[in-house]
């Protein structure tokens, strides 16, 4: 299932599941991730799954590349129950003050804002991974006619709650952060909760979301 295993520096194993990015490949990544996490091997200190890669960091004072590579190669992959895979609705307000790049996208995609949003809201999205900043979910796949590149010059500050689009993916900025994705709206929903240590993420890899458009009043009243 893993196409290639190599080292990333001297304290991480880099598992490449192939060039393709789709739900099927990502499910394999998640399967390895969950099995390794569950079995809690000595010396493994971090697992970072992404679309089509899994990076396993280890404590070099305890183990080494060769040993961790063997663990991965000999891993007995069990089906892990998918009960954690939820369906979540995310309210988004696409008012001018939040939709920072909607005009830019109209030009890039040669479509009206209305068409862009209609297409965007028309389907469910799958959460491939979380990360970059704490709790940030990465979803896919956008319809082909919504796919645009990153901004040429990334923003120094993307507002918290922003929904960004790039290539076949979209994400939610859980904190104010630098970033180069095309911003089309903002959610008032708390997506990452630092006070909940056991489950800080509202959305986890494998979950499905549906975005729902709300107006500015609904946005403002959301947390009241």
């Amino acid at each position: 299932m893993i196409k290639n295993i190599s080292n990333l520096g001297d304290a991480a194993v880099y598992c490449d599941f192939g060039k393709e990015v789709n739900k099927e490949v990502n499910s394999k990544v998640i399967k390895y991730f969950k099995n390794l996490k569950e079995q809690n091997f000595e010396g493994i200190i971090n697992l970072t799954p992404s679309y089509n890669k899994l990076i396993i960091s280890f404590d070099l004072t305890v183990t080494n590349f060769k040993k961790v590579k063997q663990i991965v190669e000999n891993l007995d992959i069990k089906e892990i129950s998918s009960t954690s895979e939820k369906k979540i609705e995310i309210p988004i307000c696409c008012d001018k003050e939040f939709a920072l790049d909607l005009n830019r996208l109209e030009n890039k995609l040669n479509k009206s804002a209305k068409e862009i949003l209609e297409t965007f809201f028309s389907k469910e999205y799958f959460c491939y991974m979380t990360g970059f900043i704490a709790g940030m979910p990465f979803f896919g796949d956008l319809e082909k006619n919504l796919q645009a590149k990153r901004l040429e010059t990334p923003r120094v500050k993307v507002p918290k709650g922003s929904i960004g689009l790039t290539e076949q993916f979209c994400n939610i900025y859980t904190f104010e952060s630098p970033g180069g994705w095309n911003i089309i709206g903002n959610t008032p929903l708390k997506v990452f909760d630092t006070s909940n240590e056991d489950a800080p993420n509202l959305i986890n890899p494998g979950d499905t979301v549906r975005f729902k458009e709300i107006n500015i009043e609904e946005y403002r009243n959301f947390n009241e």
Binding site: A11, K53, I133, S177
Partner: protein, 314 residues
């Protein structure tokens, strides 16, 4: 609240609580964090006979100025730090790598780090601070850890509990600086032109001011990418050198984003992390290639050296 506390007269630059950091949270976007110069962090606690994971204040360039109110307590400072003690209106030069007992109304002024970036300050007592995911390490980008996930601010109070008495402890240690940073080839090394690959290992790069606990941005000969300036976003680890479209390398440090979409030209070996992080803006860096087995051997030597130092402290 305890009655023994430090009051922050001047917070300093990027003064945060740090320990050994967090584990097994990368998959939700939380990096390891923790002290960026692990050896100096270990030394400050060993000098004070503290646990190996005891919280310390880490500061960059300029440390805090503190006044202490309470029963006698011992403190220590590590790194290459100029600091003063003000006791009963008498100023004395502070010495790093030794325990110093201070009393009510004494002040510590951690003036600056000398041709380096980070310094450490700790005490023979427990700081009254919050832990998140079993670590006090402050990640200011995600507001996680002690002090509500923020850096110290002027005039705040740092309460301490369970003050422990120790006899004087010290070690002779001199921080050496390095220019040559050893790296292992990255997973996207072949994205770069032959010339860029050669330049990476032969040209000099300079540390820029846009460097912090997340990463170190370098400038030098632009590294030309001939395949794609983006990759599908994937995990990052400390030490990874990413090269965005502008051709300037960025090295991931303790608070790095857990996922990134720029090609990875190389990864700094673990043994060189401490010294790399101590290079201030303007410093020159040359990358030297090593293979995995060399890196592992070099790390064993680094560990042995650290442990020998720690065992010498009595």
């Amino acid at each position: 609240m305890s009655e023994n506390y430090f009051e922050v007269i001047r917070a300093g630059i990027n003064t945060t609580f740090q320990d050994n950091g967090r584990k097994n949270l990368n998959h939700i976007g939380i990096p390891a964090s923790g002290a960026i110069d692990k050896r100096n962090y270990k030394l400050v606690n060993k000098i004070l006979n503290n646990d190996i994971n005891h919280p310390a204040l880490e500061f960059a360039y300029q440390g805090p100025k503190l006044i202490y109110y309470g029963e006698p307590i011992s403190i220590a400072v590590t790194g290459d730090v100029n600091f003063k003690l003000i006791r009963k209106n008498i100023e004395t030069e502070g010495k790093c790598y030794e325990s110093i007992t201070i009393e009510n109304n004494d002040e510590i002024d951690l003036i600056s780090t000398n041709k380096s970036v980070y310094g450490y300050f700790s005490v023979t007592a427990k700081f009254q601070i919050d832990y998140q995911w079993k670590s006090c390490s402050t990640n200011t980008k995600a507001n996680i850890g002690a002090n509500n996930g923020k850096k110290l601010e002027n005039s705040q109070k740092l309460h301490v509990l369970d003050i422990k008495e120790i006899t004087k402890r010290s070690i002779n240690y001199i921080n050496t600086r390095i220019e040559n940073i050893r790296v292992i080839r990255g997973t996207n090394f072949d994205y770069f032109s032959k010339e860029a690959q050669q330049n990476f290992f032969s040209e000099e790069f300079y540390v820029t001011k846009l460097s912090d606990r997340m990463g170190m941005r370098l400038e030098g000969k632009k590294l030309e990418n001939i395949v794609n300036t983006n990759i599908k976003s994937e995990g990052l680890v400390k030490g990874v050198i990413q090269v965005p479209a502008d051709g300037n390398p960025i090295i991931m440090l303790s608070d790095h984003g857990t996922i990134g979409g720029y090609p990875k030209i190389a990864t700094v070996i673990s043994a060189d992390f401490d010294k790399l992080a101590q290079l201030p803006p303007g410093s020159k860096i040359k990358f030297k290639e090593v293979n995995l087995s060399d890196a592992e051997t070099i790390f064993k030597l680094y560990e042995m050296e650290t442990n020998t130092l720690l065992s010498k402290i009595t």
